[in-house]
């Protein structure tokens, strides 16, 4: 990893002070973050397993990136709003998206099913980069409301090549929108290395928009928390957007359909395993005396329970009623949808008669 990053916790779990990002270590929050990583990881492992047994069509593993996700999500206030990619299990966990909702999606029952207003997190789109613009628009809405909320907009290194991310940076900067861009540079966009997206560190892009940027250790939950919090606060106070590049690594395959042996070495993966975000947080908390065996056992048991809940939920998931697919195409009645629905209803009835 490039050493030119903000890091508050070493891979060995030692606390590093950084003059720009002082952080009061609140043990409750630290414990909560530990728990969130463990639970996110459980959702990840369990869902991968459910995909392997054919219960899910697909899953996007997050292993290795939970540090910055959980840290940054903890930096958000409840009224703040987040936009994520598919790989943001740590964010979902912290903001309170029930992982069962994710199972619905990857099982093909719904495209999304949580209420963004309840959790302050938009449903994600798979179309890379396009939500960066939605983030900025949402932030422009906050401005117009005169509210002091802020938006966290997450995307990957691959996404930075898209026109939409560029246009998002242009709009955010010229309108001083209260938005923080958080790029998880996990080194890969499926099989394409980040060097195919950029010749310079991604964080350098920000200056071109007159926007400050920070490069952080993405496997350091404390850096994720402190730097994101500072940026969100700056945004809500009218200081405009900030760009954060979190340097991290996707240790698993891109999705359960992917075969990373075709394009990368195991050595790389092992190196990054030694920089695991949970390991270093645990070491730090143990040294601080903030957690003990009883606590870790309790969290482990909770994770077990979560795993069981997910397996049970899958067993109970039934295919939706066919006519449900006609719901919500429009808010107001639309002649064509009504006609097609009626025709489908007749057709289904005719099948039963046969």
């Amino acid at each position: 990893m490039n050493e030119d990053v903000v890091r508050l916790l070493s891979p060995e779990g030692e606390r590093i002070e950084h003059e720009d990002y002082p952080l009061e270590a609140d043990h409750d929050q630290l414990r909560a973050m530990y728990r969130d990583i463990v639970l996110a990881r459980r959702t990840d492992v369990e869902s991968t397993a459910l995909q392997r047994t054919g219960e899910l069509g697909l899953w996007c593993p997050v292993l290795g990136q939970e540090g910055v996700q959980v840290g940054a999500a903890h930096a958000m206030r409840s009224h703040d709003y987040g936009f994520t990619t598919y790989r943001e299990v740590g964010m979902f966990q912290v903001r309170g998206v029930d992982p069962v909702e994710l199972l619905h999606l990857y099982r093909g029952i719904s495209h999304a099913s949580w209420d963004p207003r309840e959790v302050g997190l938009g449903i994600f789109t798979i179309v890379i980069g396009s939500h960066a613009l939605h983030s900025v628009g949402y932030a422009m809405g906050i401005q117009r409301d005169g509210a002091d909320d802020a938006v966290l907009s997450c995307f990957g290194d691959g996404a930075t090549s898209t026109g939409d991310v560029h246009e998002a940076m242009v709009f955010a900067s010229v309108f001083s929108a209260p938005v923080v861009f958080l790029v998880q540079n996990n080194q890969w966009a499926i099989s394409v290395p980040v060097t195919r997206q950029a010749r310079a560190p991604l964080s350098v892009r920000a200056a071109g928009y007159g926007m400050p940027s920070v490069r952080i250790d993405g496997n350091d939950v404390l850096a994720g928390l402190a730097v994101t919090r500072a940026a969100l606060d700056r945004a809500r106070e009218g200081g405009g957007p900030t760009f954060i590049e979190a340097v991290t690594y996707r240790r698993g395959p891109h999705t359960t359909s992917d075969d990373p042996t075709r394009y990368r070495d195991d050595g790389e993966v092992e190196h990054w395993a030694s920089l695991d975000p949970l390991d270093r947080l645990r070491r730090y908390l143990e040294a601080e005396g903030a957690i003990d065996e009883e606590f870790t056992a309790r969290v482990a048991a909770e994770a077990e329970g979560l795993g069981e809940r997910l397996r049970a939920a899958i067993r109970g998931m039934e295919d939706p009623e066919p006519l449900g697919m006609f719901d919500h195409v429009y808010v107001e009645p639309h002649r064509q949808v009504q006609a097609d629905r009626a025709a489908m209803q007749d057709y289904l009835a005719s099948l039963e008669l046969r």
Binding site: A112, G137, D164, V170
Partner: protein
């Protein structure tokens, strides 16, 4: 009643929508101090300020994409795309985000948004300034598509589009921008815009058009009448949903139908009208539905447009073809 051009009617309609609902805001290129290249937003920046009339950076995907976020936050953005030919950079945001968002959110998040696009030819413009992209949008579930035929319609339907909780592609026939009509600014707005309008009843042929071609159809009906052919004229007005019922009803009487648009005929709106009318009136049709529209070529340099665009003679030719069967 006030005499207005379509530009003035749209301006008045936008103003009224903004007065009635503080969540309505406008965004687009050059819509602020300049008032838009056609002056549709003239004076609105002065009266409603920077926060509600937003001169955007030069980025159409950015305009539509940020509007998606504004809608999520509870706003009702009304966007201007400067010309038809410049909507394509925003196509991804329109078809994958705007059109689908309510559906994919399971009905939780609405996407009330109007995307205004001056469209069509006939003004001697340079390339990319005369296109008719309506079929792309009418083929896309999740969008609604409206196009006014005259100033009176424009005044009313722009407000109805803004009031709709679904996203609306609002296509403004730029060659009719300077046509005048009596506009009723006083009465409350009523009626549904999602229906076809029967403008004239005839007995021999049903003429169907929309947007810029409505006037052409009316003129063709006049000309046909002189030759003793009596035409109905129907303005589709809403291209999604299409309201084919009134057309089919009329065709059941006349037995003949001619559909007119500027866009290329192949997979143009007339193809759908033809298919539906034939499905619904098969035994009433005395001739196949005739289509009059653009040939299969990119919009040509404007010295060709008098030949490229359907005009009264071309519509009469379509009527003749129908009557010849």
């Amino acid at each position: 009643m006030t005499q207005m051009t379509m530009v003035q009617a749209l301006n008045a309609g936008l103003r009224r929508a903004m007065e009635n609902d503080p969540k309505v805001l406008l965004m687009g290129e050059d819509i602020g101090p300049l008032g838009g290249v056609f002056r549709v937003t003239d004076g609105l920046h002065k009266d409603f300020g920077d926060l509600r009339v937003i001169d955007s950076p030069l980025a159409e995907s950015g305009i539509v994409g940020t509007a998606v976020g504004l809608a999520m936050r509870g706003y009702r953005p009304v966007l201007e795309i400067q010309f038809d030919g410049f909507v394509y950079p925003a196509f991804d945001q329109i078809v994958t985000m705007v059109a689908k968002h309510h559906y994919r959110s399971g009905g939780i998040t609405r996407m009330p948004m109007v995307i205004r696009i001056p469209y069509g030819g006939g003004i001697g413009a340079v390339e990319h300034h005369s296109e008719s992209p309506e079929a792309y949008f009418a083929h896309t579930p999740g969008l609604r598509v409206l196009t006014p035929a005259d100033a009176a319609e424009a005044y009313v339907t722009i407000q109805q589009a803004i009031a709709s909780d679904d996203p609306v592609i609002y296509l403004e026939p730029k060659r009719r921008y300077w046509d005048r009509a009596e506009v009723d600014e006083v009465s409350a707005i009523s009626g549904s815009p999602w229906t076809s309008r029967v403008l004239r009843r005839g007995s021999d042929v049903t003429l169907v058009g929309y947007g810029p071609m409505v006037r052409t159809c009316l003129e063709a009906a006049d000309a046909a009448a002189e030759d003793g052919v009596s035409c109905s004229v129907i303005d589709l007005r809403s291209l999604s949903p299409l309201d084919v019922e009134p057309v089919a009803d009329d065709v059941r009487r006349t037995g003949r139908c001619v559909v007119v648009h500027e866009a290329p005929v192949v997979l143009g709106v007339a193809a759908e009208v033809s298919a539906q009318v034939t499905e619904q009136c098969f035994f009433h049709l005395e001739a196949p539905v005739q289509r009059v529209g653009g040939a299969f070529l990119p919009y040509p340099p404007n010295r060709y447009e008098k030949h490229y665009l359907p005009d009264v003679d071309r519509v009469l030719d379509g009527i003749d073809r129908s009557l010849a069967t």
